[in-house]
Structure formats: C-alpha cells, structure tokens
C-alpha cells in the first residue's frame, strides 16, 4: 500500500475552469478528493440591496449583470413579475419579440457552455466553432438593442425597441444555418471516444437527490424528471407551440450534455414556429402608467432560463421602488450539490463536474 498524505488545495478564485471568481477548497488524499468546501461571494454586488432604492425600470440593467451569459431571460423574469403584480397585458408583437430573443438567448447560452465545457476538458477547437456561431446571435441582438451582452431590452409592458427592417428575416435565415451546424457539432464531438470516457458515469446522482437539492434545468432533467417550467407552468407563448422536453436516465455528466444539446434543437423548433406566425405590425408597448407603481402585494414569478428556474420575488408596498426583491438564481441553487459530488472523485473530474453544472458566477453571487 502506498502511503499518501492529505493535502489542502485551493482552487480559484482565479482559476480558468471556474468561469469567474468561484473558489473551492479541496482536501485531497493522493489524487482523490475527500472533502470540498466552496467559498462564495467574490462577485457579490448586493443587487437586492441596491434594488430597494431603484425604480423597477432601473433594476432591469442590474438583472443583465446577474446572468450575463443569458441576460434576456433575467430581463424577462423581472418584467414578468411586475406585470403579474400590476396585471398589465402585453401586446402580441412585443410578446413575440420577447419569445424570439429568449429562445435565441438559450441557444447562445448553451453554445457558450458547450464551447467552454469542452475547453475545460481539453478540446480547444470546439470553442472556436461555438463562438463563431454564437457571434451571429450576438450580432442580431446588437442590431436589436445596441448591446452585445447586457441588453436592457425588455421593459415592464413590452420591449424597448421594435425589430429593425429585415431583422426577422435574418433570424429566419439563422435557424436552418444553426440546424446544419448542430449536426456538425455532433459529428465533431458527441461521438468522440475520449470525450465520452471523460464524461460518462461521472458525477452521478439520482432523481430524489436532485429534487431534494432543488436542482433545475438540465441538472434536474438529466435524472429523468420531466420538469420544464415552459411546459408545466407555461408563460409567454410556450403553451402555443410544440416542443419536447429532453430527459436523461442515468444522471451523469453525459446525460446533462445530451439534454443541453437537444435543448438547442428544441429551441430552434420553437423559433421556427414562432417566426412563421410573427405579426407583421403591432404595438411593442402595452398600456403602462408613466410611473410604474405596483399595488401592495407579493408575487413570485419564475421562468425557465438556460440554467434552470430563475425566479423573482417582489414584496411591494405600493411605491415606485420594491420594498424587497429577491432573485432565485438557478446557478446558486444548482451549485449546492457540487461538494457532495466531488467526494471520492479525482482532481481531473472536478473540472468535468463543475463544467456540467453550468454556473455563471455573476448569478451565483448576485
């Protein structure tokens, strides 16, 4: 028997595989992890505290900076919460625009995940492919609202900018293009033997554990639980269009990978249907009072972001600023299971497991 010594190793906060400033202290026995303690808060900006002194419209840019890989869905959850509280109706065209940008955002977000995940595992080139195609979506957003990452596109009652001329046609062209490229991704990576042996059977948990830990998104669905808020508690236009909810069976990193890849093609399917019915004309802002002052009350609105359930809990006292606002951030909740998964794994698998959870540190720390 080889004698090994226990070693305390610090991973992060500046570690490339943590995609930000996430830190985890691991205790290793030789190559095997015996204990892991995550340390959070390096990117804590106190969004919830700041929001208490801001009007609802002023909070929207702060949501951009929470999950900066998927700002459109963060925008939506806040606007949706205020709209539910005030019972505002959204014009058809505005809702279509929101729907389209949210689904494009889901694809863009999954592409970032796909590229960087493979980069973490050791494959350089897929990252370049992913960012090449994500760039098209980012350009589309840039044309729509003048920003590439922090969009500030949605408003309570609708959206800020109407689609410029020809924009919808560009999206229409993008959908078949992306379908083609998705096939390319699969031939490039999905069947690769080295890749499969790195992710199959790693980081396994069952459905009961996933539910107990409140996991959501692909992290929950990889265990076979068919739960997608878009399907089960529909918002926006999701009850109008057909799409499947991909689920896994084993609950390992490979299932999380296949779920997300399948979600891209389902998003394309949703986009196709929505683009076919996109209204030619119409308002982009509903009837909203000049000063947004929701009535006294509470609301918890939740939607399916690329990372899982993102929620917004507003306590209003009838003022223009929220009395208390709390964001349920999927990355924060999903990350809780991370130290549990690490025990008994090797150091190389730390990166594999963390990458498969798909966190954005801006959202973990808020």
């Amino acid at each position: 028997m080889i004698r090994t010594e226990e070693l305390l190793l610090n991973v992060g906060p500046q570690h490339p595989s943590t995609h930000g400033v996430f830190r985890v202290i691991v205790k290793i026995d030789g190559e095997v992890i015996t204990e892991a303690v995550p340390v959070l808060g390096y990117l804590h900006r106190g969004t919830e505290k700041l929001a208490e002194n801001l009007t609802y419209t002023q909070i929207i840019p702060y949501t951009d900076r929470m999950d900066y890989v998927s700002a459109m869905t963060s925008n939506y959850v806040l606007c949706h919460a205020v709209e539910t509280l005030m019972q505002i109706e959204i014009p058809e065209r505005a809702e279509f625009l929101r729907f389209i940008v949210m689904e494009l955002q889901r694809i863009a977000s999954h592409l970032v995940w796909w590229g960087t995940y493979l980069l973490d595992i050791g494959a350089m080139s897929p990252f370049l492919y992913a960012f090449r195609d994500r760039e098209i979506i980012i350009d589309l957003f840039n044309e729509l609202c003048g920003a590439r990452l922090t969009y500030f596109y949605m408003r309570v009652g609708g959206v800020k900018w109407d689609a410029p001329e020809g924009w919808i046609d560009k999206v229409r062209e993008f959908v078949p293009y992306m379908k083609e490229k998705l096939k390319e991704y699969h031939t490039l990576v999905s069947g690769n033997e080295i890749f499969l042996s790195r992710i199959k059977g790693i980081g396994i948990y069952d459905a009961k554990t996933a539910i107990d830990y409140g996991l959501s998104g692909a992290n929950l669905r990889c265990t076979g639980v068919k739960w997608d808020i878009r399907k089960d508690q529909p918002y926006s236009l999701y009850d109008r269009y057909e799409f499947d909810v991909p689920v896994g069976s084993k609950g390992d990193c490979y299932d999380r990978y296949t779920c997300r890849m399948e979600e891209i093609s389902q998003s394309l399917r949703l986009l196709e249907q929505a683009l076919a019915e996109f209204p030619e004309e119409g308002e982009i802002m509903g009837k909203v009072p000049r000063v947004i002052r929701p009535p006294e009350g509470e609301v918890y609105s939740r939607i399916e972001s690329p990372r899982g359930e993102i929620g917004c809990h507003i306590v209003s006292r009838g003022k223009a600023e929220p009395y208390r606002i709390k964001f349920r951030r999927p990355s924060f909740t999903n990350l809780q299971i991370f130290p549990k998964l690490l025990i008994g794994e090797t150091m190389t698998n730390l990166v594999t497991i963390l990458g498969a959870i798909d966190i954005v540190v801006g959202e973990v720390d808020a």
Binding site: T150, V291, V299, I337
Partner: protein, 269 residues
C-alpha cells in the same frame, strides 16, 4: 467575468451604431416630458371620469331643470350648472367607491384554489395542532396562490409533514426569501409538488431582536445555502442548520445589510 469585460470593450469599439444616437435622443425626451410627473392615481381618475354612468348623470341634472324654466336669469343658470357639476362629481366619487368595494369583495368567492387552501389547513390542523396556522389567504395577484403563515414554534414539525404527507407531497422547495417587515422579520418559502404541480407559499415570522427560525435543511437540502444567505444578510438564526456561516459577505462583516435599519460601520464603504 473576463468575458464580460471583453464584450463591453467590443461594444465600445463600435460607436458608429446609429441606434446609440437614437437612445440618447429618446432619453432626453423622457427627461423633458412634463407628463412624467403624472402619477398613477391621476391616470386612473382620468379613466374613471370618461366612463361615467349616463343614468346617474341624467338623474343629477333633473333637479336643476326647474331653475331653467324661471325667467332668463343668468345667475340662477350658473348656479344650477355648478350644482349639477357638484352632484355629478359626488355621483362619480360614489361610483368609484362602489367599484372599489365591489372589486375587493367579488373575487373572494370564486377563487379556484380555495378548496386546496382549506384542505392544507385541515391537514395541518389535524396533524400538528389547531393553533399552528396563524393566518391564511389566497394571493389573487399571484395566480391565486394559497398563502399560509405558520407559527414559528410549529414550523419544523410542519415542514416535515408538508414534505412527507402523501396527499401534499411538497418535495420541491423553489425559493426561500427573507423579508424585513420592520415590525418583525419573515421568511417566505415557495413550495411545489412535482407530482401534482400544486404550489403553496408558506410564511414564518420571527422577532427582530432574537430572530430565530428552525432550519429546514434536514427536510429540503435546497434550504442550506439559502438559509446561510438569509443569516448573512438579515441576521436570522437557523437552529439545526449544519453549517451556518456567512456566505456572501466577508466573515468579519458587522451588521446585516438587508435589514431596513442597517447602517454601515465604515462610512467610507
């Protein structure tokens, strides 16, 4: 993080975007617009005045009619008009009040979730004790969500019941929020059953001075970091929590930032 910086730089490098100028312009418009000062109440009262009840207006006008039959007297006419106007305003006010009363009274009857609320109250009363529920209501603004306030001392037993009860089976804890209500602190739990898709909102209150609520981490693991966050930012103790430490703020931070009376110990920060 590094990516965000990169992207921002990229965006700055493209000043030729015609939309940038447009944004600037429209923002100035908003600032100059005097209507911005119009409050929500003004808007709603304007709406109310346009859809006056024609019947009531006619009724108010009739007492003024005899004055008009008298010899042409401008003063009397003016007086009558003023009277009619006042009467109309009064009628409008009365109607508004009635509408408000109606609005508050009407939706209480048909809430589709009322049976669900009654059922969960019954289950809690039967299994815990009759005083466990402090308050219950239907949150009409949030899709008729059944909302229940549980007595602090009964909360842990109640949480176990909610999860394990065959009929309720609330196995998924969606969200935990801490709220400083100034008179007391409050933790709000949003629970969901993945099998029946039923949702409930549970509130537990605690005293501001010695804030303490039983931890539900042994019941739902989701609560672990959420309770740490509430402890960190609102200063509520969670007895029974396996690892209650600050999570967002540094370990040596003084005070609880999300409390309404929080003042930073260092004025420079």
């Amino acid at each position: 993080m590094s990516e965000e910086n990169k992207e921002t730089k990229d965006a700055n490098a493209e000043p030729s975007d015609p939309r940038a100028a447009e944004i600037q312009e429209s923002r100035e418009d908003i600032k100059l617009d005097p209507k911005l000062e119009v409050s929500q109440e003004d808007v709603s009262s304007n709406v109310a005045s346009t859809d006056r009840d024609p019947e009531s207006t006619a009724k108010e006008a009739s007492p003024a009619a005899p004055a008009e039959t008298a010899p042409a007297d401008a003063e009397a006419k003016e007086k009558a008009i003023a009277e009619a106007r006042a009467a109309r305003a009064a009628a409008r006010e009365k109607k508004e009040q009635e509408d408000a009363a109606e609005a508050s009274a009407a939706p209480k009857e048909p809430s589709p979730n009322q049976p669900r609320l009654d059922r969960i109250l019954q289950i809690i009363k039967e299994n815990i004790n009759t005083d466990a529920v402090e308050d219950s209501s239907i949150n009409e603004r949030d899709h008729d969500l059944p909302t229940i306030t549980i007595r602090n001392s009964d909360w842990f037993a109640c949480s176990q019941l909610l999860k394990s009860h065959v009929e309720l089976n609330l196995n998924y804890l969606r969200n935990v929020s801490g709220v400083d209500q100034e008179t007391h602190l409050e933790v709000v739990y949003y629970l969901l059953s993945l099998s029946s898709k039923h949702e409930y909102c549970i509130k537990v209150k605690t005293d501001r001075e010695a804030a303490s609520i039983a931890s539900v981490t042994p019941v739902w693991q989701t609560a672990n970091w959420n309770e740490r966050e509430i402890y960190d930012l609102l200063g509520i103790d969670f007895p029974g929590h396996p690892d209650l430490r600050r999570i967002m703020m540094p370990d040596d931070w003084v005070g609880y930032p999300l409390r309404k009376d929080y003042e930073s110990i260092d004025p420079e920060v």
